[in-house]
Point group: C2
Chain length 328, copies 2
């Protein structure tokens, strides 16, 4: 038997990526299938099985030794092994781990949601190695999070913990897709900063605040555009980052009061704006944090807010694989 | 050797209560010393040692078998075993577990803060038996909390987790003793509801809102007075409970989004108002909670908000003792 690997499966609305990951977070071989072309869940699982078997033989003379399967998916529930109510997937309530266990009855098969998978990847392969109490915040289209306490992911009673994107950041604030108002992700996410730009464009006089962002429509405006504009001195773009960081930092200060985390890692598209988002976030955290979480001598918060240490690793696959490698 | 016991030590600003607790949460023998009469920490520890030894001999012909010592104290840090910066205690930065371990070098000696001790008591002897993910909120002079995730207390990186009383409930809200504004405990605590009564008395016309609470000064007004007035139909008192529950329920909804807890236990003076505080809290939680934490069929929140199941047990002592019994 060749090298031991875990099959990491990263399920998205359009594509499902499957890779064989070693214990150092390298994806040795990978492939991709179309999620949305498989409306029947059982057939989708069979295709995944076939792809895994093909990949395992790709190791040359000695096929890879599969020691487990990890899956990351929107609304993936660790406790039940089911994908539950994911609006962008073709099926509902799929008992995914049970279905894969029929093909691999003796192997561990585990499932979690995307943000927890990133937190696991950070813990097993990234800059959270050895940390016991930290938070990972994914700033993409929405805001996801994975909380780690006492060295374990907080899944919660029903496996649905970590919805930091849906704490109420601003009372009676922006409408959220969840049906409520003021959720953190309506402010602190790629979509949130875009909405902030539009709020600023609406509120500011064109004469005073010239901005290239007035030439981009809502659908085409991206966090990257705002990043680029900010670096070129655009005042609207810079203000948008400041507002985003201010709201995010305030909510993170509350989270530190509850969890006493040592580190908060920011991951995803918006986090790639680096100092543009980190500086106002850290400043706001510092302003809002309870005194006992500050270093007595320096007055600085003890918690470190850092960019993810995963670099260019294929996070979706290795995060899923980390579900298995974590316990090896 | 007689029955196995744990010495539970409950340290308050005025008194320190010491008791021998069995594995069922019964305090077999107990005593009390004055905390504030012992300005020298070493001598205080020696007195505690002598009291424990005296209690152990109180078992009759067979002295009790001491299997460990648990301590609950304001600002007690589980990780370091130190009391840190407790403003109401005579000493600062006392390495309490190390000091007691000098007398009992082979026994486990553990320390935590008051609210975590209540959470442990609830887990070991109360209604949280067998629960893995729950929150205990103590509504006394301030608001304390203990979070349990994956069956363990969340102590956090520096042992100071669980400061739910100091998340910002109302932006730019009431001044808090911590130096910031709008902390949850300035609203949801015995002191908080008193402040709410005064806000209502200030805002409402005496002609429309007759209230017996206008005859009690701030220092003498207690949560019990407000409770009594509310039950007699006093509109100010009833409004005060409604406002308190509304703010508490909103913050608890945020906490469920992060922790996906199955139960939240309310403990302490204000919780004794029972339905007066539970009804508006549960209503507000229901209004503010994210859809995935509701039962799909009934629309009710899955999390249960309950009064503590500890009844008349001596929580301070048995909570401290539970630090040791939990792992037996």
């Amino acid at each position: 038997m060749g090298k031991n690997v875990v099959a990491g499966i990263d399920i998205g609305g359009t594509n499902t990526r499957i890779g064989l990951a070693d214990d150092e977070g390298n994806v040795l071989l990978g492939t991709c299938i179309a999620t949305d072309k498989h409306p029947v869940a059982d057939m989708y699982v069979e295709v995944i099985y076939n792809e895994i078997e093909t990949l395992l033989k790709g190791g040359g003379s000695e096929p890879y030794g599969l020691i487990g399967i990890g899956i990351g998916a929107p609304n993936g529930n660790y406790h039940t092994g089911c994908i539950e109510d994911a609006v962008n997937l073709p099926w509902q309530q799929v008992p995914l781990t049970a279905a894969l266990n029929r093909y691999y009855p003796t192997l561990p098969v585990k499932l979690t949601n995307d943000a927890n998978a990133v937190a696991l990847a950070e813990m097993v392969y990234g800059d959270a190695k050895g940390l016991k109490d930290f938070i990972v915040v994914t700033l993409g289209t929405g805001l996801g999070s994975g909380f780690v306490a006492n060295g374990d992911i907080v899944y919660g009673y029903d496996g649905l913990a970590g919805e930091l994107g849906h704490i109420i950041a601003i009372e009676n604030g922006r409408e959220c897709n969840c049906g409520r108002c003021g959720c953190l992700e309506t402010y602190a996410s790629a979509t949130g900063i875009k909405r902030t730009v539009f709020e600023l464009l609406c509120n500011s006089a064109e004469k005073n605040d010239k901005s290239v962002l007035r030439d981009i429509d809502f659908h085409n405006l991206s966090a990257k555009d705002i990043d680029k504009a900010a670096r070129e001195g655009d005042s609207i773009a810079n203000k948008a980052f400041e507002i985003t960081g201010k709201i995010l930092g305030k909510c993170l200060a509350d989270m530190v009061a509850v969890t006493s985390s040592s580190h908060i890692f920011l991951f995803g598209g918006l986090a790639e704006a680096r100092e543009l988002i980190f500086t106002p976030t850290i400043e706001s955290l510092k302003k809002n944090i309870l005194f006992c979480y500050k270093n007595k001598e320096t007055g600085e918060p003890k918690v470190k807010i850092l960019p993810s240490g995963l670099g260019n690793k294929d996070t979706g696959i290795i995060g899923a694989a980390a579900l298995i490698w974590k316990d090896k």
